[in-house]
Symmetry: C2
Subunit: 340 residues, 2 copies
């Protein structure tokens, strides 16, 4: 099931190397962040660290705190508060994952049963709230009202994106613009807020703040576009994710938007039946992938991702060359080429 998205093998290896370079750059800091996360998700109410630990230790890449730390480093800041910022970003992200799994009724994430399956939706909702409140407590400890402003506004925008996505769920007439609005809000906003906060923490001037905000936002859009293409790709299985999750949930992502718009009337009937009416038979996922292939919907989704990746790269141009900058640039390649 699924098609192989045509990346070149060199690109693949570049992407891997870029991720390793980023890991190497922030390795020591990430040790501190991981210890800090463990200490701050403690609660005498045992269910909380158990459930939060399940997700936090379940092999996520921790891309967001790594990017945060790399951006702080590029801006020349070495204060201890960088660890709190990175942990706060990861708590915010983990809280939204927990609530997302409840909202999407997911049963698998990163090859493991989701927390809502093991502990129930009730605990997932509450522990998500706990992590959200911990995220804010960490921001308060950092003590910068500007960073609090950026991250609390981001938290609101993320939710607006998720509600918009829920409203548009299964609506095949969703436009590419609406789709972009949704993924910008629900995914790119946190990347943007994390990178911008790094510049604020380092006391960098406004143009650098804006550049890092733009880098994060466009990288986040590219990241989500690739994620949405991967959901229909055979490569997906290597992440332990199920192929076709979005299809089964009737989630309208760009591959569907493009296939629907480029399809003939019989094809549109197919999308309406499977996505809007949620009437799916066993062979429908295969048929969905075949239609996407016929209309280049997956490869064009990756093309769109490249476009945003390019903007992210150019946004960093105002920073002087450095190893940190190279790492941030490289992660754009990784995000686009991680299908391999």
């Amino acid at each position: 099931m699924g098609v192989v998205i045509p990346f070149d093998e060199d690109g693949d290896s570049n992407g891997r190397q870029a991720l390793e370079a980023l890991r190497g750059l922030v390795d020591d800091d990430m040790t501190l962040v991981n210890e800090f996360i463990l200490s701050r998700m403690y609660s005498p109410v045992r269910t909380i660290p158990e459930l939060a630990g399940h997700l936090i230790n379940s092999g996520g890449k921790r891309l967001r705190p790594m990017l945060t730390l790399a951006a702080v480093k590029m801006c020349g800041h070495t204060g201890d508060d960088r660890v709190k910022l990175a942990a706060s970003v990861e708590f915010l992200h983990t809280a939204t994952l927990l609530h997302d799994d409840v909202v999407d009724e997911s049963d698998m994430r990163r090859g493991e049963s989701t927390a809502n399956i093991i502990w129930g939706n009730q605990a997932s909702v509450l522990v998500g709230d706990f992590l959200l409140s911990r995220a804010f407590q960490l921001m308060v400890e950092i003590g910068s009202l500007k960073i609090l402003d950026i991250l609390s506004a981001a938290a609101g925008t993320i939710v607006e994106g998720e509600v918009l996505q829920l409203d548009r769920a299964s609506d095949t007439s969703t436009t590419e613009d609406t789709y972009l609005k949704i993924i910008t809000a629900k995914t790119a906003t946190l990347f943007a807020a994390a990178c911008q906060s790094a510049a604020v923490m380092a006391g960098r001037p406004a143009p650098e703040e804006e550049a890092l905000e733009s880098y994060g936002r466009n990288l986040g859009i590219a990241f989500q576009l690739v994620d949405d293409a991967l959901d229909y790709s055979a490569k997906q299985a290597t992440f332990g994710k199920t192929i076709g999750d979005d299809f089964r949930e009737g989630k309208i992502t760009l591959p569907v938007v493009l296939s629907f718009r480029r399809g003939n009337s019989a094809e549109r009937d197919f999308w309406c039946r499977t996505m809007e009416e949620q009437q799916q038979t066993e062979d429908d996922l295969k048929q969905a992938v075949a239609l996407m292939t016929r209309h280049d919907a997956l490869s064009d989704t990756i093309e769109r991702a490249r476009h945003y990746g390019d903007i992210a790269r150019d946004a960093l141009a105002i920073f002087p060359d450095s190893h940190e900058k190279d790492c941030l640039l490289g992660i754009v390649d990784f995000c686009i080429q991680r299908a391999h």
Copy 2:
């Protein structure tokens, strides 16, 4: 169904008068708060203001923002940020109500269908998150790191209380101490944080801050104790709440804790069957109320509430006499006597 808890009629009318006195004191401010709440729950994503509005306009007493405003007034502060503080407290409260209804699988609140029934659990989870993030954004606008610290810590404690309650759900061996820990965290903490923040906002010295924290905390405990007694009282119907919600959900509250401990072995079997095993027949609620009456569990729950109410009153003793102080003192009577 249910018993009438023996309050005297004078007490009843004192309670009502106290609520009216508080309303009169903060009437103008509450108009500002209500307008502010409406403007800040706006989102271009329509589901958000629709769902949030359903709950916010559904006839809650707005006791928390009224208390906040009264405490600010007693402390002599008149800045515009008082409106933001009161709105922030109400957003925080409303967010926890939304998530509570999802966690408790409630279908009625204040005589109306709960948001999770009308819009689904998914929207309730997300709009709760939205209100939570709005609450933090308002705190950031107030610009006091100390208030941010108090309220973000409170948000974490509230969730810990809810998770603890979920962990102990249906456990008839719950002690009165554990029950107190749960209601202190999930209910009293927000009352305490709101009142303490009022003192901080007004720049009052530490003893007054602590006094208002203690007033809020003990008032909140009394409030929840009465709430839990009311769930088994005939008077409950006048609030539009269903009688016996806690019983049907297997929620262990003080009336059950006392009845279980004071009961004989046949009675304990009854509580185990109905609460732990959730095997309930039509007459079981009637039987539960009969057992509570036999062991004075409801009247003793109210007695406990009076004890905490007394502490709340004494906590305010260090403040000079004023109309504002009288209103805050009176609200202790209201909380205990609102069964009428």
